[in-house]
Symmetry: C2
């Protein structure tokens, strides 16, 4: 899935009148609902249109194909998580390293858990919709946010390099995925949350020491 292959998922037409704006939003919501109620396997364009209360033809006026439906939802979800992480990073600037990491990780976990059902459903379709490409693009945003945050640590040691941050984020996201796909209880979520914090804290501390 090359980067420019994503153009095949871009909207076909932009809503102009208020009427169509509502329609597009309804289709987007219907996509999520069908995904949750019927599963990715049995998500059809007809079913989504039906659920949205419009006809298939209307759907195809705004989304060029079935994949673009899921792509839009995936993109929105990931942007949402990335924004949450970025916000946490800004809030945590100038605090001690351990606290920075804690806030960032907890923000991520909480954002994912907020919509755990959607997260799990999207894992399933991610691959068919340019997920990896999208991930590359969006995780860079998070990486930069974390990087900026780390450069404000009070203690003036040098901070970990880009590579280490990428590893940390990938590890965090990967562990979270495992957790979500296993169907976590509120107890395991709580424990995972703190363990994930510890994981990232100890790695960042180690990566910092190495270079400092």
């Amino acid at each position: 899935m090359s980067a420019d292959a994503l153009v095949a998922f871009e909207p076909r037409k932009t809503p102009i009148q208020a009427r169509s704006t509502v329609t597009v939003e309804a289709i987007s919501q219907a996509t999520i609902q069908v995904l949750l109620s019927h599963g990715a396997e049995r998500l059809t364009t007809t079913r989504v249109a039906e659920r949205a209360g419009v006809s298939v033809g209307t759907l195809y006026q705004y989304y060029p194909n079935k994949q673009s439906l899921l792509f839009a939802v995936l993109e929105h979800h990931m942007n949402n998580v990335a924004a949450t992480v970025e916000a946490a990073c800004e809030r945590a600037c100038h605090k001690p390293l351990a606290e920075m990491i804690k806030e960032m990780v907890e923000a991520f976990v909480d954002a994912k858990m907020e919509r755990a059902d959607i997260s799990v459903a999207l894992y399933r379709v991610s691959a068919d919709v340019g997920g990896p490409t999208l991930i590359k693009r969006i995780s860079q945003r998070s990486r930069k946010a974390v990087e900026a945050m780390l450069q404000t640590v009070p203690d003036a040691k040098s901070s970990p390099d880009k590579f280490a941050i990428d590893i940390m984020l990938a590890a965090m996201a990967g562990a979270m995925r495992s957790l979500l796909e296993a169907g976590p209880t509120s107890s395991t979520v709580r424990k995972s949350r703190e363990q994930l914090v510890l994981l990232c804290q100890s790695y960042m501390a180690a990566a910092t020491a190495r270079r400092g």
Copy 2:
């Protein structure tokens, strides 16, 4: 995908004569080759049979459906990686903690890289074939191996609990997935390998200290 849903992927008939053993193996190999050359999207039972040099009917005599083809390949691949990790754990018993982790992580990374192309292709189909369920089952094997290894650390501190080990393995696997899907260069692989070691080492050290 519940655990007992996996029965739908189990072989339909077991080869008895040598002739059919060859056939089944050919089909399995053909599945991988079609997966790599045509992609998961365009992997059809007919194409696999064609590639294997048999007819579709023959294919269906041993595999109950299309998914079972991919399931078999996925299962084989994961068993292979798990076995490699287990072997590394046994070799690393009684060594210092840091070295244990190093050998385990490196064994995992190397096993994945050995068949990087297959790994990436399987990530794509994993979800459609009971991947998460299979992962749960097989990652338990790795967890137990690591657990056993950790109980032989010379230094007599208490070792991390099951939960921490699960987190570590999930993080390791998740980071590796990110790496593979990004299409790594030999340089990034080398760096990732050592960073992943550091990640797991520092986490295990921290988790041990907490409880010790």
